[in-house]
Symmetry: C2
Subunit: 590 residues, 2 copies
């Protein structure tokens, strides 16, 4: 531990295993160090230190008596201390000689390994949960398997997604979809006979949360998909959406798990005046406690079922509309058996609730990144998630788009803005993700009044030509490769902003823990035209000596520039590239 100002100490713990840990902090008075400091100060001030040296000899003898280890080591070490103690006590020697006896390397080594700890006090036992690295650093890709030829077709796409550098393929619910009040294309209330419905209307006569929609394939197909992902070093993430279509088996088997109305019907989901007739919310607090216990166990069993089939990361739908007590219970319960299992909270709600979800156990959280567009709001938000009060336990996941959110400049936006938003997501946050279609610049909104996509894939099948020329695939591939190559980009807390006067240019850097890897990103936030500026670099944050030249290699273009001093000039033309992603090294360019 090292001391910061104002009685604060900081230290780092590293854990060898994932799962539960506990730590305690001990504090004590280091009697010998205090004695050494005070005695040296008094000696330097010319004061008589006879009594102090006598005190010191007693301290050394006390240590000598307490030495542990083999008999030989014990004898040797205590002999050194006793010898030093005798010199300290010898008034015929000059003070310098007596003081020096304590400073001998061998004595210091013994004192260091056998400190005299007085006034020992300790903190409470502090819980610490250690996750596997992907909880912090992950690249997500969301796709609807039904638009990709079911599990079989999706399995075939995995190699391409792996080549693009994604780690986690997240699938919306894969369960049988209800038919009662099924939504039609573009969220119409009357479905045509061939409409496929929303995957979030979970459950039909074919089964519920532990069944598979037959049009996607069989369990064998699903297992093959999970296995292929594993073979490629990726993983499949499923959607954990705790809600039921009116046709879900639970509705008949366990009516007590739902909300009832005076006319005998079950309450469907609504956010007045909006109605979601195809979805019944679950009542997590049924009147009888045995019903609650059975319901919560059934919800846990869903997770256990898919964990047994190889799923280790769940994307959780709207967790903030279910009780925090449930999440605290189910996550703890599941992770006690399976510490490798992780949970991503899809909660777009008040900051306090999002932080609470992280606090009770969620491993990652969606964020407001989608709605942070301007320079100042990006700076503030990045600092909030990286260094704000919740940053010790909430890990952000930046998504430029989701099937629910086509927002801001992406609406009718061109390739420049799609590249720009991807660079921001992928370099500001160690975890980020995109929803498929992003690489094809899908940009058509359903309406001006909300953030839905036109012909949303939530209600229909969308086939795409991912090999279309001019797509973003090569760009994304490059960005993901960069993220893997640079430890600096795999951390959350290390972002530092570098000021510059242009309101369209954002500059920030990240350095790895050991300082050996430094990445400086300079982004043109204006997709419409070139922007230029002189940046005011914080050279300390870049690990650069101000009196020497340094080199920045643009990892997007391969160019290298030699800079000297804190005020380099940059110019970015969005048609060519939205950003510089520089690796920074001291010394002249090659």
């Amino acid at each position: 531990m090292r001391q910061l100002p104002n009685h604060r100490w900081v230290g780092a713990i590293s854990a060898d295993e994932i799962g539960p840990h506990e730590y305690m902090v001990y504090a004590w008075t280091d009697t010998l160090a205090t004695w050494r400091r005070d005695t040296q100060v008094k000696h330097a001030a010319g004061q008589n230190i006879d009594v102090e040296l006598e005190e010191g000899s007693l301290l050394l003898e006390a240590v000598a008596a307490r030495i542990k280890g083999s008999a030989a080591a014990k004898k040797e070490k205590s002999a050194s201390l006793k010898q030093a103690a005798e010199i300290l006590r010898n008034k015929y020697l000059p003070d310098e000689t007596r003081l020096a006896a304590v400073e001998a390397a061998v004595v210091l080594e013994v004192l260091d390994t056998h400190p005299i700890r007085k006034d020992v006090s300790s903190s409470a036992e502090m819980p610490l949960w250690v996750d596997r690295p992907r909880a912090l650093f992950s690249s997500w890709y969301e796709l609807f398997p039904r638009s990709n030829g079911g599990f079989e077709g999706t399995t075939k796409r995995l190699a391409a997604l792996s080549d693009m550098g994604f780690d986690i393929i997240y699938l919306p619910p894969i369960h049988p979809i209800g038919v009662t009040d099924r939504k039609g294309r573009n969220n119409t209330t009357i479905a045509e006979p061939d409409d496929v419905g929303s995957p979030w209307a979970i459950g039909s006569s074919l089964g519920g949360h532990t069944a598979i929609e037959p049009s996607l394939g069989t369990f064998e197909d699903f297992d093959a998909l999970v296995e292929e992902a594993r073979a490629l070093g990726m993983e499949i993430s499923l959607d954990y959406a705790l809600q039921c279509s009116p046709d879900h088996p639970w509705v008949k088997e366990h009516p007590e798990w739902f909300h009832h109305r005076p006319d005998g019907t079950i309450k469907f989901a609504e956010n007045p005046p909006k109605k979601y007739q195809d979805i019944y919310p679950i009542n997590f607090w049924p009147p009888k406690d045995e019903d609650r216990a059975a319901l919560w166990s059934a919800c846990r069993d869903i997770l256990e079922f898919w964990i047994a089939r190889g799923i280790k990361f769940f994307r959780v739908d709207n967790p903030h509309t279910k009780p925090l007590a449930f999440w605290a219970w189910v996550i703890r319960k599941v992770q006690a058996k399976h510490p490798e299992v992780l949970f991503l909270a899809e909660a777009f709600t008040h900051p306090k609730m999002m932080a609470r979800l992280a606090e009770v156990g969620f491993s990652q959280s969606y964020t407001y990144f989608t709605w942070r567009v301007g320079k100042q709001e990006l700076v503030e938000y990045a600092l909030e998630v990286a260094q704000g009060p919740a940053s010790d336990y909430m890990r952000p996941n930046f998504w430029p788009n989701t099937p629910d959110i086509l927002s801001g400049p992406l609406r009718n936006g061109g390739p420049a803005v799609f590249r720009l938003r991807l660079v921001l997501a992928a370099t500001m946050s160690p975890s980020y993700g995109i929803y498929s279609g992003y690489e094809l610049y899908e940009n058509l909104p359903a309406r001006a009044t909300d953030e839905e996509y036109l012909n949303s894939e939530k209600y229909e099948i969308r086939e795409r030509n991912y090999d279309a020329p001019g797509s973003m695939v090569p760009f994304i591939t490059r960005i993901n490769a960069l993220r893997r190559a640079h430890p600096a980009l795999q951390q959350l807390h290390n972002i530092v902003f570098h000021d510059n006067p242009n309101p369209h240019i954002l500059a920030y850097s990240k350095a790895s823990d050991d300082g050996s890897d430094v990445v400086l990103t300079v982004v043109n936030l204006d997709p419409g035209r070139w922007q230029e500026t002189t940046v005011n670099l914080d050279l300390g944050a870049l690990g650069v000596d101000a009196s020497q030249p340094f080199t920045v290699h643009d990892e997007l273009t391969g160019s290298a520039y030699q800079w000297w001093g804190p005020h380099p000039y940059v110019r970015l033309e969005p048609a060519d590239q939205p950003a510089h992603i520089f690796s920074v090294t001291q010394g002249a360019a090659d």
Copy 2:
């Protein structure tokens, strides 16, 4: 309680009694309010609300069944509800009529007093200690009784100090002073035979912490002093300094309460290389626990002794050098019997330790005000003590000077700077104090290297002519009268700064809780020359309507100015007055 953004709620508690309290926060779902809001939204959207109205009628009947009170009231109230429930259920009536049945005043009144609380949850029991008002709002004056003719002379001075507006007269230790290693004038190590010694070298053959230095007077004289203060609405505060001179009776009676050295001597106080041979620190953790218990009880008995003689506010010397555990114990113990007793912590140490002392029980704390001189540091510090993390439990006390601290611009400074620092202390903080001599502009430092006064009163008697013409007495009298007249100045959290471009002009306002009293202070921080500026007023903080004129009455000069809009011009000539202290009222000047 009212809602703030981000799931935060705020409420106020007022207590009728001083002493210990507990509070809890309950939260619940207001089923009826939720039903009313949702049903109205659905009705406004033209949806069928038959089932909702049926739900509403059941809710009203549920309330009707739960009404408490006299049989008559019960009958009447439940009849109104049942009638409303019937109307709700009557499908032959139009929706508007049915909805209106719930909105009838008599129904709403019953619902308001008999809410349906679902999902009730509660916080832990939260402790709350309520102090008497002087814990927050107090004006202190420190004097050495030996320089004022002992207790008798001091008693005679009280009327003048009361006229000046002080509430609390704080006396350095009044106990017998040790003779062994007594310090001489100006802190020399060898005292002359007639040197009086430092009052903080407590204890001699004449007694310890419960005895009185005979040269100050008798217990009867002391009682007369306390009684005269009480009669004038003031109080006497004693110094609680837990340390002993080598001649203190405890040294012989309880050697186990001190630190011992190998040569058989007791350790005196030191801060190497500085030595305080006239003071023995107490060892609050003697090896045997029964010794610790006896020592702590003896320390508590000192407080009980003086409380029995009418002392209700102790100024505690260097509490940060004694264990927090001791303070937590002794303050709780004493206040359990005497909830009116208060403690001022004289701790000038790290912010974290100062906050901890407040947290474990101290009622007020000395601050760094003495060293905050520049505009920016004054703004930051005032906001930290008023609104920072510790401001919920730490009450600051601003002292421009103390017997230990003649600092910054006061050193060799003139009357202008003495007035200026007094205005800042007295208007930024609800509690402030001065050490006597301030009103006579005593400004001579002992040396350039520390903050001691020349010929410090700590080591000698200083007689002063408090009636000297040109003294600050009238100015201080005016300031203290202002503080008593303006509730706005008696609060801590309410300070608001108003920006202006002049680095020497500081403007801040305070408003009383109900907004009826608003004080705007504008200070010229430059004692050397006039300064002028245009202030950017936050009119909202002043409770002023921007579209109307408002009047500022200068309470120091009696002048009034009519202002309109947020950018008034101010000019302050330090030779005339260091500051405007304006009371602000809407409307034109008389």
